[in-house]
């Protein structure tokens, strides 16, 4: 038996290649020391991400199997990759002043790029092995990133917790994939599909596999009841990393979720549909109720992310093209509305002694309207108010759910939204209606510095750095409003991505 190297279409693979090459360059550049090192490294990261995004857009509309069917290049994968790349590009300037990154800026950005690479691959994975490898490529750098803020005890805890829980999730997923392979005899998504269509839809091996795979992916996408790690990790990780995780990981995880379930496991739709519907409903309930009493903004957004994940899952549950379109639209909108909120939290963390406590944003409306407005828009959008992309996204999802005969899930989204008002509006009340908080004695030092004198020096006035954060923040918030009023371009984009997925019978 002779080995035949698979034919490789380099044009289709070019985004992945560019990202990998850029990642190596950034890692190397990080080794040099110099006054401007931070900026050089960040600029290189941005260039890498911009190139990748450019190549992805160039490939838009192409549909083909890459590397002997391990990856599939289609509009869905490209759309999700674009979300991940954009989120990474948004986060790079956020890390500029991150105390965790002062000495090891190159490492941090290289890890970020590495995780992005994992996401790009995951969004295109069409084979159980490619799926698992890219999922680990995504996760491992994130474990490190979460623990990278050495001066904060919580950060280490967060990294460790994420590592352990994430590994459990990966192991469960792997176990499930093994069962699916065992049952269907193929690692290829289309092969699995053929196998199941050939009379395996009630096969116990495959069913166990589906259950375990769903559990593993639910860990990654932080869906209840597999969400326990989310608030702790979100709170402990450096805020830029949290921002990245909350948006990009979710997008990639949902992309592979929809690919695995609707392409490979499509024929057993009757078996997994009720289970996923229950998962969505539980996530909506747990996320929204959990967020209610939170004073830490990062925890609050963590729980809100669980609830939003539940909404997004509805797009998968209905197993229709509209559902996939709605999912892609919501993921894009979610990125646009979540990132500005995290950017504002990052800035306030560095300016005030309150860390990510809700007191940090009190009185922002009067003092810093430039920060208050993006935060306001993102909260209103997350709560699904009209005039924002969040409203159109919810509309899309509810329409998909009613169309797919899951009206009760549509009502669940609505009820979840009602509960969510209580905490989103609480943030807005703090921003606009309360006076700026006074620091209690002993709190004057920004909490992020951890009291170490050499660390305090880094919490300098933000100056030009702030502009690098502010401009993307304002642009993203403006986009939320623009797409809320004129959603057509984003809807078309999401429709293309949704059509790319071969429909479920």
């Amino acid at each position: 038996m002779s080995f035949q190297a698979p034919e490789i279409d380099y044009a289709g693979l070019s985004p992945v290649i560019a990202l990998t090459a850029g990642l190596c360059v950034v890692l190397m550049a990080g080794l040099f020391e110099g006054a401007r090192q931070r900026f050089v490294v960040s600029a290189l990261s941005i260039v890498t991400l911009a190139t990748t995004a450019g190549l992805l857009i160039w490939q838009w509309g192409e549909t083909e199997d890459l590397v002997a069917g391990a990856l599939r290049l289609d509009d869905l994968g490209i759309a999700i990759s674009l979300i991940a790349v954009t989120a990474a590009a948004f986060v790079v300037p956020l890390t500029l002043r991150e105390p965790a990154a002062e000495e090891r800026h190159g490492d941090l950005q290289a890890l970020l790029l590495c995780s992005t690479l994992g996401m790009v691959l995951l969004a295109q994975a069409q084979n159980l092995i490619a799926l698992f490898v890219s999922l680990e490529l995504l996760s491992v750098p994130l474990y490190v990133l979460c623990g990278s803020s050495l001066r904060r005890p919580r950060s280490l805890e967060s990294g460790l917790k994420y590592l352990i829980v994430g590994s459990v999730g990966s192991a469960t997923l792997l176990y499930g994939l093994a069962f699916i392979y065992g049952g269907s005899g193929s690692t290829d998504f289309t092969g699995i599909r053929d196998g199941i269509e050939g009379g395996l839809s009630d096969d116990p091996l495959v069913l166990i596999g589906i259950g375990l795979a769903a559990t593993g992916l639910a860990f990654k996408a932080s869906l209840a009841p597999f969400h326990q790690w989310t608030p702790d990790v979100y709170q402990g990780a450096p805020t830029p990393v949290t921002a990245f995780m909350s948006v990009a990981t979710k997008a990639a995880a949902f992309c592979v979720f929809v690919r695995l379930f609707e392409v490979a496991l499509g024929p057993s739709v009757d078996q997994w549909q009720p289970a996923l519907a229950a998962l969505a409903a539980v996530s909506i309930a747990v996320g929204n109720i959990g967020a209610l009493g939170q004073d830490s903004l990062k925890r609050l957004l963590g729980y809100s992310g669980i609830a939003q994940g539940g909404y997004i899952l509805v797009g998968i549950v209905v197993a229709s093209q509209t559902g996939t379109e709605a999912m892609v639209f919501y993921l894009a909108a979610y990125a646009l509305m979540n990132l500005p909120a995290f950017a504002v939290i990052t800035i306030r963390e560095r300016e005030t002694p309150f860390g990510d406590d809700i007191r940090a944003v009190q009185g922002l409306g009067g003092e810093r309207p430039v920060l208050a407005w993006p935060l306001t828009i993102s909260m209103l959008a997350l709560a699904g108010f009209p005039g924002t992309a969040g409203f159109i996204g919810k509309l899309f999802l509810i329409e998909a759910s009613v169309e797919g005969d899951y009206t009760w899930l549509g009502v669940a989204i609505v009820i979840g939204t009602m509960i969510s008002l209580a905490y989103y509006l609480r943030v807005l009340a703090a921003v606009w209606m309360r006076p700026a908080a006074e620091a209690a004695p002993g709190e004057e030092v920004p909490a992020i510095a951890g009291g170490a004198p050499e660390a305090d020096a880094h919490v300098a006035p933000l100056g030009t750095h702030c502009l690098l954060i502010l401009v993307p923040t304002v642009v993203a918030a403006a986009a939320v409003v623009v797409f809320g009023i004129y959603p057509d371009p984003l809807v078309d984009w999401a429709s293309n991505a949704g059509e790319a997925l071969s429909p479920v019978p």
Binding site: E325, F385, P386, G410
Partner: protein, 487 residues
């Protein structure tokens, strides 16, 4: 033209944000007056004999989701639009004379709110209506929360939770309606015309009816779901509470006429009795509460709860007379309650308190203010000769034709109105002047706000047919199916 009218307020609001400091008060006032002029032109231009939509706009908005950007006016909405523009002009003027903190944001929010309300009155696409209905809440959340009085944050949160619970259910119900009707209509469409031409099955109508009714009843507010009203009315700035009671409450009643009656005729007939009970309960409860309250704002607040009970009664009598009276009464009530709140604001400034027991004697040196207040009071209690009398009369005729029991109980409400309105007037204007209360004549600036409003009340009293004639055709169309069913 209706497009300009719709978007002008929010554009002016944005202008305020960038306007130079000197003109930050002049810009919104000019903008609100311009919107008022446009609304008046719209009324003059209106063809009174036609039940069809006038000035229709129909553009594709989100084709994939079947949502269209459809606007238009008819006999039901035309005067509510005029009322909106008028009260907003008054509220803007009143606020401009008492500049709030952070005026740029304040006037932006006020403009956004006007666009939201006008949008709800103009929308001819169900989803667009829901969108504007929700949108108008956002600015009110900020207006009350950031510029309100005591306990403003609690009050505004409570209001948001109450009203949004209703309107989010409405969103789900609207989507369900369009999707259920899709096979009949032939495509996914939220257009009110399409949906009312192809009513959905009775079983679906039943639950969807409640989702809509919840939203509209909370918004009015009606008895049982009025919990947010006392807090919000107490905490809101005067200009805001004037438009809140004057216009926002009408959006709920308007929603019944525009959406529920035409789209869900079977469910409307089925639950008519229940809605009448709620209406009558609101009338009685509002009346009783209004004459036991000691806070002046709450007297006016509960009186408007009772008035909205009358309007609901008129609509759910399901008789053309009743509904036509309800349309007239919506405008009347807006015209009456807004100046009431403005006067309450003036009185509170003079007395230093909003407690009715500590007021009195303010007519002593303020004959003009007293006269204006007297006109408003007489209109509130529906004195024969006032347009409110005609409105209530029509509503009661409709109710008598339909369900005589409810009409009889509702008539008691008219007597309550006389009692609480006169009590409010006497306690504040007559008696001896208590210490700390100042009797001061209305200033010229405030007269600018108040006199035009009172002039409108008088004008409408002289010629209520203006509204009744124009409303008739559209109202009959809205009631179409129900009327046929009853006959």
């Amino acid at each position: 033209m209706i497009q300009i009218l719709l978007w002008l307020p929010v554009v002016v609001g944005l202008l305020c944000v960038v306007a130079p400091a000197r003109s930050v008060r002049a810009v919104p006032v000019l903008g609100a007056l311009a919107a008022l002029v446009l609304a008046i032109v719209l009324v003059i231009d209106f063809d009174p004999d036609s039940a069809a939509l006038q000035h229709p706009v129909d553009e594709s908005w989100i084709p994939d989701l079947g949502v269209r950007y459809q606007l238009g006016v008819d006999g039901i909405s035309i005067f509510l639009i005029l009322l909106t523009a008028l009260l907003w002009a008054a509220a803007t003027l009143y606020s401009a004379f008492r500049p709030p903190e952070r005026p740029r944001t304040y006037f932006f929010m006020l403009g956004l709110a006007e666009t939201g309300v006008l949008g709800a009155f103009l929308a001819q696409d169900l989803l667009l209506f829901v969108l504007f209905f929700d949108l108008m809440l956002v600015p009110f959340f900020f207006l009350i929360g950031a510029w309100g009085g005591e306990n403003r944050i609690g009050a505004t949160l409570k209001m948001m939770v109450y009203t949004l619970v209703g309107s989010l259910l409405m969103l789900a119900a609207a989507i369900a309606t369009a999707i259920i009707a899709e096979p009949e209509v032939g495509e996914l469409s939220f257009s009110l015309a399409d949906l009312s031409a192809n009513p959905i099955s009775q079983g679906s109508q039943d639950w969807i009816f409640w989702f809509f009714a919840a939203a509209f009843l909370v918004k009015m507010p009606a008895f049982l779901v009025h919990g947010w009203m006392p807090d919000a009315y107490r905490a809101a700035p005067i200009a805001v509470v004037a438009v809140l009671a004057g216009v926002l409450s009408k959006v709920g009643a308007y929603g019944f006429l525009r959406v529920v009656l035409p789209l869900y005729p079977d469910a409307t007939l089925q639950f008519q009795e229940f809605m009448l009970v709620i209406a009558v309960a609101s009338i009685v409860y509002g009346g009783v509460m209004a004459f036991t309250q000691t806070n002046v704002r709450l007297v006016a607040g509960f009186s408007s709860l009772a008035q909205l009970g009358f309007i609901t009664l008129g609509i759910f009598a399901l008789r053309p007379d009743g509904a036509d009276g309800a349309v007239l009464q919506m405008v009347n009530h807006g015209l009456v309650v807004a100046p009431t709140f403005v006067i309450i604001g003036l009185l509170a400034e003079r007395a230093g308190t909003e407690d009715l027991r500590e007021m009195g004697g303010m007519a002593m040196r303020a004959p003009i203010l007293a006269a204006l207040f007297l006109i408003v009071t007489l209109a509130t209690l529906a004195m024969p000769g006032s347009a409110n009398f005609i409105g209530e009369f029509y509503i009661l005729i409709g109710a008598f034709q339909s369900q005589i029991v409810y009409a009889l109980i509702a008539s008691v409400g008219v007597a309550f109105a006389a009692y609480y309105a006169i009590r409010l007037y006497q306690r504040t204007m007559h008696n001896r002047l208590p210490p700390g209360v100042e009797s001061r004549e209305i200033s010229l600036r405030d007269a600018f706000v108040l006199v035009p409003l009172v002039a409108c009340i008088v004008a409408l009293a002289l010629y209520p047919g203006l509204i009744l004639e124009r409303g008739e055709a559209s109202v009959e169309q809205a009631l179409g199916t129900e009327v046929v069913a009853i006959r």
